[in-house]
Symmetry: C3
Subunit: 206 residues, 3 copies
């Protein structure tokens, strides 16, 4: 086992942020209560489920239900906050930071599963990417929006970069928390700078 437990609260922050993003889109599309809960759930756990299916594991959430407390707690909280929706600007900033924490923490977790399964660089990058953005992908495909990662800014790229760097560092023998934490900080900084500076990848010419 990796010393992953140290990351636990980062996952929980990410899980909460992904829950909120599913909730907001479900509410905007005026789904019923079950629809909103399903969308929030799938956004939060979809990436991890796809990752586990790809490497042939039973989805972790089916064995360890702990993230569900975060998800349902978040849903209850969002419901309450909605009743007094002041200070939207601050909430949005909080959401961006929480979502970015989730992006990087999920990418590192996914990449580590790939490294443990002795996948090649592509497999590790794919697992990091799909763990981080898979939930949002499922959410967008279900509501028939074009997946945000296909036309949004510097988001999925961060997950891929982080996973590739982790693969290389572990391959060179640098494994453990001393690698994970600086990498996490790097990925988070990259994402937040990209967001606030609106860095975008070039568009493909037709």
């Amino acid at each position: 086992m990796h010393a992953l437990f140290q990351f636990d609260w980062l996952y929980l922050i990410g899980t909460a942020a992904f829950t909120v993003s599913g909730y907001l889109i479900g509410a905007r599309k005026q789904f019923d209560l079950l629809g909103v809960i399903i969308l929030a759930l799938l956004t939060a756990i979809g990436g991890g489920m796809i990752r586990d299916v790809l490497v042939g594991r039973t989805p972790r959430i089916f064995l360890d239900a702990e993230p569900l407390y975060t998800i349902f707690g978040t849903l209850a909280l969002v419901w309450l906050i909605k009743l007094h929706q002041r200070n939207k600007g601050l909430l949005l900033k909080l959401f961006i930071v929480a979502d970015s924490i989730g992006l990087v923490a999920f990418s590192i977790a996914g990449a580590q599963v790939g490294i443990d399964a002795r996948l090649n660089l592509f497999g590790v990058a794919f697992l990091g990417f799909v763990t981080a953005v898979g939930g949002g992908l499922v959410r967008d495909m279900m509501v028939n929006d074009v997946p945000f990662i296909l036309h949004e800014d510097f988001y999925g790229t961060v997950a891929i970069l982080v996973a590739i760097i982790l693969f290389l560092l572990y391959g060179w023998g640098y494994a453990g928390p001393l690698v994970d934490w600086p990498l996490f900080a790097f990925g988070l900084a990259l994402r937040l700078i990209a967001h606030w500076r609106e860095i975008r990848l070039p568009r493909v010419e037709r």
Copy 2:
């Protein structure tokens, strides 16, 4: 093995109903013959395939082709009936009942797979749900409709409730046909009453 064989004809009724729902949507969207067959097939077997992939089994339909006779028989029958489409009201009522039978029977079957795999409550509820509604979900996503379970009435909720109750009863040591049949009757009644009374879940306020 569970004493599931007693449910066999319920699955077949459900399979037939799901086939019809895929057929009708494919025909409405004017797909070609292969497209309609694929859509009907995926609607009927999609839920079971997703369930099997989630628990790491080879899809049962790849080993035991029996449901296919039902599917292709249903397709042939629908084709024929179409030629003399009288009595649409009765057919629609028949369809609703058959579809509800499928919903509950598939949910119980999915939940039992989860219980056998020793999943937690969430895993069992998820498998019951996905077995029951997964085919319709795939169908709707393929034709780019927003999945019916996200905005329709009291449908997926029944599958989840049934799976949760099964989990609890089995956990408390009440297993077997004496549990399955009353639960099936309860689920079916719940669904049909919800349908005819148009019970809906509350919408989420924005």
Copy 3:
């Protein structure tokens, strides 16, 4: 192991064609660079990944990255060719032939995986089909087009026919290159004739 290595260059041609089709659709929809690369990648490897997940294997691309050279090489080439886009008619014809080669070669490869896993006829046909068209399916679902196989002409049918014939021939004891090559030639001819003669399956009457 089957004597599949002889087919290797056919897969590579197919992989290149599928890459191009993903690229073209991503560019038309004006995704950013990462979006186009993801779409091209998923189109090229999506079918094989779905196949591997269905039979419970780690996706081959996670262990053997060779097709990636073809994919990224193709992307680079397409990029360059775009700069001097003369002779579009010839390019289109080349693309149709390469795409058809991929369709048939992927179908045979998928069917052989199913035969090796001792699946029934349906399982083998499904794997052949999904290996051949799964990438295109994922591509179309991601960009919210109705999957081409649901309304396009004689395309998926070829993959299914080829897989069924392979299943029957292997079942009757005719296995190996002497079966694979004529079957490949037959499937390719069928697809190209269907394309140029615009053979279509009948539409389903409403």
